[in-house]
């Protein structure tokens, strides 16, 4: 039983950032703009957040610093995403080009600024954000151990964002219009929806969530930041496609991938697996191979937003 608690707690560290960033990508793509810049936005969001924590961690108590850092990360993400949005929406540019440019820019810029500000490339931070046990809720049998011990505030933020994303996308006027812009922008325009504005909104939401996701990924897994999020932006893209651009399926995809990743990294603590004598590298491959296998069985019909990636041109017929 302790093993299961441990696995679920670990899984959250992998799954929650993937979930948040993939949901961000979902808003962008459902509005009609592909966003392969997620990786770069994550790096810059994490960088700004960690830099903030590094500066303020001695002056402010733990959780407030974390919340403020999340805001900083989100704001940074929005600013970076505007760069992508301008190229993709106003300039009608090829969206993978500007995304690639941001992915290349982000780590270089983070290292450059770190060198200028701190003379070294790594930024250390004290992890004072772990919650050993949530009062009251942590005492609930089973569930308390699963979700309310050895956790981070960010885990609950992830679920909150999921809920909000689902409500916004399916239960609000805004969500309906956003989806229309990703499916058939001409039709949306003909009934008075401002396609450009909706697409800007979609990309900015993706920027905020990717920035937050970057910070959330770095905090539990490390104590220094070295201008990388280990390809999680691309994995979030994979989770988004795996999840067929729908919040609930994105959740399943993120949890599936996170669980596989946990098994891969913690197999030596799992009695059944540690005695098999299979090489470390093979375990590390499990999440990727498992994802491919699941995809071969579930990819029959793709439900990607029809207009995603196509610049909207008012004059086009």
């Amino acid at each position: 039983m302790n093993l299961m608690y441990f696995l679920v707690q670990q899984m959250m560290f992998f799954s929650i950032p993937l979930l948040i960033v993939a949901l961000g990508g979902m808003f962008s793509e459902r509005s009609g703009v592909n966003n392969i810049a997620l990786e770069g936005i994550m790096v810059l969001g994490a960088f700004a957040g960690i830099l903030f924590i590094n500066i303020f961690q001695e002056r402010l108590p733990g959780q407030p610093v974390l919340l403020l850092a999340l805001l900083v990360a989100a704001a940074t993400g929005i600013v970076v995403s505007l760069v992508h949005a301008y190229a993709a929406i106003n300039m009608k540019a090829n969206q993978s080009i500007s995304g690639t440019a941001i992915n290349m820019f982000a780590p270089a810029f983070a290292i450059y600024v770190a060198r200028v500000v701190r003379q070294v490339q790594q930024i250390p931070f004290a992890n004072q954000f772990r919650i050993n046990k949530v009062p009251v809720l942590g005492d609930i049998p089973i569930l308390g151990n699963l979700l309310f011990t050895n956790t981070y505030l960010t885990t609950y933020l992830g679920f909150l964002i999921l809920l909000a994303a689902w409500i916004v996308l399916y239960k609000t006027k805004f969500g309906l219009r956003l989806r229309a812009c990703g499916e058939h922008p001409q039709a949306a325009d003909s009934v008075g929806v401002n396609v450009y504005r909706m697409r800007y909104a979609g990309v900015m939401i993706s920027g905020a969530l990717a920035g937050i996701g970057g910070l959330i990924y770095v905090i539990p897994t490390s104590t220094t930041f070295y201008a990388t999020v280990s390809g999680y932006g691309f994995l979030a893209l994979a989770v988004l496609i795996f999840g067929q651009w729908k919040p609930s399926r994105v959740l399943i995809a993120a949890f599936f991938f996170g669980l596989m990743k946990t098994i891969a990294s913690a197999y030596s603590g799992i009695p059944v697996l540690s005695t098999l004598g299979i090489s470390n590298d093979v375990y590390k491959m499990i999440p990727y191979i498992a994802t491919l296998i699941v995809l071969t069985f579930t990819s029959g019909s793709s439900q990607s937003p029809k207009a995603a990636g196509v610049p909207y041109d008012k004059g086009a017929r």
Partner: protein, 385 residues
């Protein structure tokens, strides 16, 4: 006479070239501003190091060729796939898979005599790269798996597989990397080490750059001059029309991915057989060369011959960036410059439109507006495939 020169100015190639050039100028300008902002006294020296570092000595000129070789190959891989409507984000996995095959043959198959040894190693790398590319292609046509997602997965699977294979077959446990390849597997220098050297220090330039040039020309010919290439491009532009016209669209996807994979795999071989002392390190980091191929291809607007130029250009900047470190700047500034150049090259179509309409003013040219537009699937960024 005058008329023909005006026509030259009006060609699509010239407009593309000047569009890329303006993007490059903007990128360099911003790079200079970054240098100024971080250390204004050294900025001029640092900037001239970037601009002239690649030709400051014969050795550095050779290093440009050496660094350009894998960039051109992965750039060709990404660009070729883009031309056929596929976004090959899996060049990293194909690159390292090919590199391993080459190193394995290079270390173990010492029974092969002379030049046959390194040639076999290159061939093995192409086969391995092609295999790594074919898998996403097959998954796409058989099970409709999105190419982008399967390529991302194959990158990680490739990295871990190669780590595992290196540790089990050709491991140098002291340095945690692959063993050095046999002398006969090292690519011949073709006299380049004699041309590009400073007294005793030779550059790492070798036959690889000629192979990369040959590959660029070959891919150009395949895409532009053969029926096979025409079919591949057609399925990139419009797969439905392609199927209606009786082409085997599924075969085209698999072929495209196989060729793209072989190109990236060959790039891996050319880097690790270059005899510069570089070995495959056993670390959990995706091979960056594969991702660097994306900007190389995009800067060249996916044109194979353009890839040759953009690969050389980015390698030139990289070497300049190494020289810039003498002025105490971080080499990452080069990446910032390149990313700005790429960002503005995304506006290339717009720049090009302005340039063309400027040149056309008073002329009677027409119908050039849609020439050179990328395939619809590429405009989509290929994510939804």
């Amino acid at each position: 006479m005058k008329k023909s020169s005006v026509n030259l100015l009006r060609t699509e190639g010239f407009a593309s070239f000047s569009a890329s050039l303006s993007a490059i100028l903007v990128g360099l300008l911003i790079g200079f501003l970054v240098l100024l902002a971080s250390n204004s006294t050294q900025a001029a020296g640092g900037f001239s190091a970037i601009l002239t570092g690649g030709i400051s000595s014969r050795k550095n000129m050779g290093q440009v060729l050496y660094f350009a070789t894998p960039l051109i190959m992965t750039g060709l891989s990404v660009g070729f796939a883009n031309k056929t409507g596929l976004f090959n984000i899996g060049a990293s996995g194909q690159f390292i898979a090919g590199a391993f095959a080459a190193v394995y043959v290079g270390v173990r198959w010492t029974f092969l005599p002379g030049a046959l040894h390194w040639m076999t190693a290159l061939l093995a790398a192409m086969l391995m790269g092609a295999l790594w590319g074919i898998i996403p292609g097959l998954l796409k046509v058989v099970c409709n798996v999105n190419v982008v997602i399967s390529c991302i997965m194959m990158n990680y699977i490739g990295m871990h597989t190669v780590n595992n294979l290196v540790t089990n077959t050709v491991f140098d446990s002291l340095n945690n990397q692959s063993q050095k390849v046999a002398a006969s597997a090292v690519l011949p220098k073709m006299g380049l080490d004699l041309v590009f050297r400073d007294n005793t220090r030779a550059s790492s330039a070798n036959v690889g750059i000629f192979i990369a040039i040959l590959a660029s020309v070959l891919i150009y010919v395949i895409l532009q001059k053969t029926k096979f290439g025409y079919e591949l491009k057609a399925s990139g532009y419009n797969s439905d029309a392609c199927r209606y016209a009786g082409m085997n669209e599924k075969r085209n996807v698999v072929c495209s991915m196989a060729i793209a994979g072989a190109l990236a795999g060959l790039g891996g071989a050319l880097l690790y057989l270059a005899g510069s002392g570089k070995c495959i390190e056993v670390v959990d980091i995706l091979a960056p060369e594969g991702f660097n191929g994306i900007p190389v291809a995009l800067l060249a607007l996916n044109n194979p011959l353009g890839v040759l130029l953009s690969g050389l250009f980015i390698a030139y900047l990289k070497v300049g960036g190494d020289q810039m470190q003498l002025y105490n700047f971080v080499p990452e500034i080069i990446d910032i410059i390149i990313s700005v150049i790429i960002y503005f090259s995304a506006f290339a179509l717009l720049f090009r439109g302005i340039i063309q309409s400027g040149l056309k003013r008073g002329g009677r040219d027409s119908g050039t507006q849609t020439v050179g537009e990328p395939p619809a699937a590429i405009k989509k960024g290929g994510i939804g495939q």
